[in-house]
Amino acid sequence: MAFGPHLLLATLEGLVTSAVLALMALGLSLVFGVMRVVNVAHGEFFMLGAVLAWWIASLVSGHPAIGFLAALAISPLIVGAVAFAADRLVLRRLNYEPEATIVATIGLLYIIQQLALTFYGPQARPVDAPFTYRILFPWFGYSGYKLSIIATSALLLIFTWFVLTRTRIGLVMRATQYDRETAQAFGIPVGRVYAGVFALGAMLAAIAAVLIVPITQAHYLMGLNPLLLSFIVVIIGGLGSLRGTVVAALLIGVSDGVISAFFSPTLAKIIATLAVAMVLVFRPQGLFGSAAK
């Protein structure tokens, strides 16, 4: 294949990564923005979403699309419930202190990972894509499902943006983020907002996982890489900034796709991780964020 089509293919793959990454990073960013909690277990919510998707799809017979849609509807709900319980049982009791919550979410990471290994096993299992239509470019055929991931993710991002900026729920969330105590004084149930945001963040990760699982297969260790990538995206985009998160997800996803296509993937990861650590050291507000208040 010539260089041009090869680049197009790498870019498309990168866009698929970006689409999934943007959803997942948005969840991480919301949780950090509103609750000031760094959720190290976010990758495990992603993994749990994928594993549950396989389980749900395996219970449903008939056309693959039915199983997939059932997984897309139910898996995020279960993951959201797990996250809700984790917030009520653990994080709230820690008063959301940054260090204690990090340690606790590390604990949560190990618990979810080990339970997945025990009950799901070490195998990687796929979920059938809901449809197998291929779009034919002049140089290669490309999975229509992958393109639909990009579209779905874009719709979900627009929907989230709408909820955050144009509805009462979003207003309440932003008020809590801006000043927790004043929000409480105005009668906003801050505790419930926190639990809801934590659940919502986890659900976004689970949705991302269900979307990607027909391509990558569900595996109990699949959470770590997306977690690091989401950290990277959230940091580059500026913590708590929706637009920055999307732009950074595009940047990271596409460059990851292109670099991995032409260079060693390990080297690509090393360079990306190092670059982000340097961004955090020298420009803590992110490339697109504004300076801290």
């Binding site: 653990v90 940054p98 340690v103 590390i106 950290f231 090393i270 991780t273 650590a277 955090l280 050291v281």
Partner: protein
């Protein structure tokens, strides 16, 4: 502030622990003897972590890179360059000191959550580098130092690192040196400044202390101690692999220190010993030892944030260092 001489009971307690460990060398059954040698080295790692986390209040999620710097610094120079074992140990410690200085200069520009993420990312880069240079490091399989290399003379003195008793006593020697070094360090004026920074950095700065320089010194001291543990681990047990650079080995010292009691001199050892046996015993029933680690972390931060020695100090023995 003047650094006071060690009160007798503190000296007796620490010397007593070392003496007890020395006596155990002669009575312990083979299996527990080997475990304790390992635990002593790993608790040196935890003591290094404790300097930064317990005393200075900086939570690093990347200390595996310092342990691994010592591990590879020693292992690779002996394996590939044919250096002697003592030179390898020195190389490992030097690598740790150099890496921690560089990381400290960069990471200390950030605070709080950013510091945790930055240290985690640097450690991840280190971990990936061990794979990128798999030709030399052996990646996941690692490198094994042969038995011949680990039998050598220092002057006229023959040392056989494959012999369990030699291994135990050397581990104990390193443990004792680091234990007393940390004890002296945390009771010195430098140690008091670190605690002042932990409690209120702005106030420490207002009082005229150069908080950046002190924090950097804490990172370097901490990283060098961790590298010492790593270098000794590679040489005594003859193996260096990338598992030790993984994120899990950044979390474990945190767990050990939390369990034993942050900002206590003996806490890291108690935490390491306790956790090692918890995992050891549970793994004979189930392979799900990570579950135990996870549950232990959550229960600790929820109900027992001061750890074992921290609680004892708060309730009964305020004099514990």
């Amino acid at each position: 502030m003047r650094s006071s001489a060690l009160p007798p009971r503190i000296l007796v307690l620490h010397a007593g622990v070392v003496a007890l460990l020395f006596a155990l060398n002669f009575v312990l059954p083979e299996y527990h003897h080997a475990v304790l040698a390992r635990v002593m080295l790993l608790s040196v790692f935890a003591m290094g972590y404790n300097i930064l986390f317990g005393y200075t209040g900086l939570l690093s999620l990347g200390h595996a890179m310092f342990f691994a710097a010592g591990l590879y610094g020693a292992g690779l120079s002996v394996y590939h360059l044919g250096w002697s074992i003592p030179a390898g140990l020195a190389a490992g410690i030097a690598c740790g000191a150099a890496l921690s200085t560089a990381i400290g200069l960069l990471a200390l520009r950030t605070t709080g959550v950013a510091f945790m993420i930055v240290t985690m990312m640097f450690a991840q880069v280190f971990y990936l580098l061990t794979f990128y240079f798999a030709e030399w490091t052996g990646g996941d399989d690692g490198i094994v130092l042969s038995q011949e290399i680990r039998r050598f003379f220092v002057g006229d003195f023959y040392l056989n690192l494959t012999d369990p008793t030699t291994r135990y006593l050397l581990a104990l020697a390193i443990f004792a040196i680091v234990l007393f070094a940390t004890l002296i360090a945390v009771r010195s004026s430098f140690g008091r400044v670190l605690v002042a920074i932990r409690e209120n950095e702005d106030r420490a700065r207002m009082l005229g202390y150069d908080t950046f320089a002190n924090k950097l010194a804490a990172v370097v001291l901490s990283g060098t101690i961790c590298a010492t543990a790593g270098a000794a681990y590679a040489l005594l047990f003859g193996y260096a692999g990338s598992t030790f650079a993984g994120v899990q080995y950044s979390i474990l010292p945190l767990l050990w220190v939390l369990l034993g009691g942050a900002a206590t001199t003996l806490g890291p050892f108690i935490g390491t010993l306790f956790m090692y046996y918890v995992i050891d015993i549970t793994s004979s029933y189930t392979s799900a030892y990570l579950l135990i680690v996870g549950i232990a972390l959550i229960l600790l931060v929820l109900f027992f944030p001061k750890g074992i020695l921290g609680t004892i100090r708060a309730r009964w023995a305020g004099w514990l260092p």
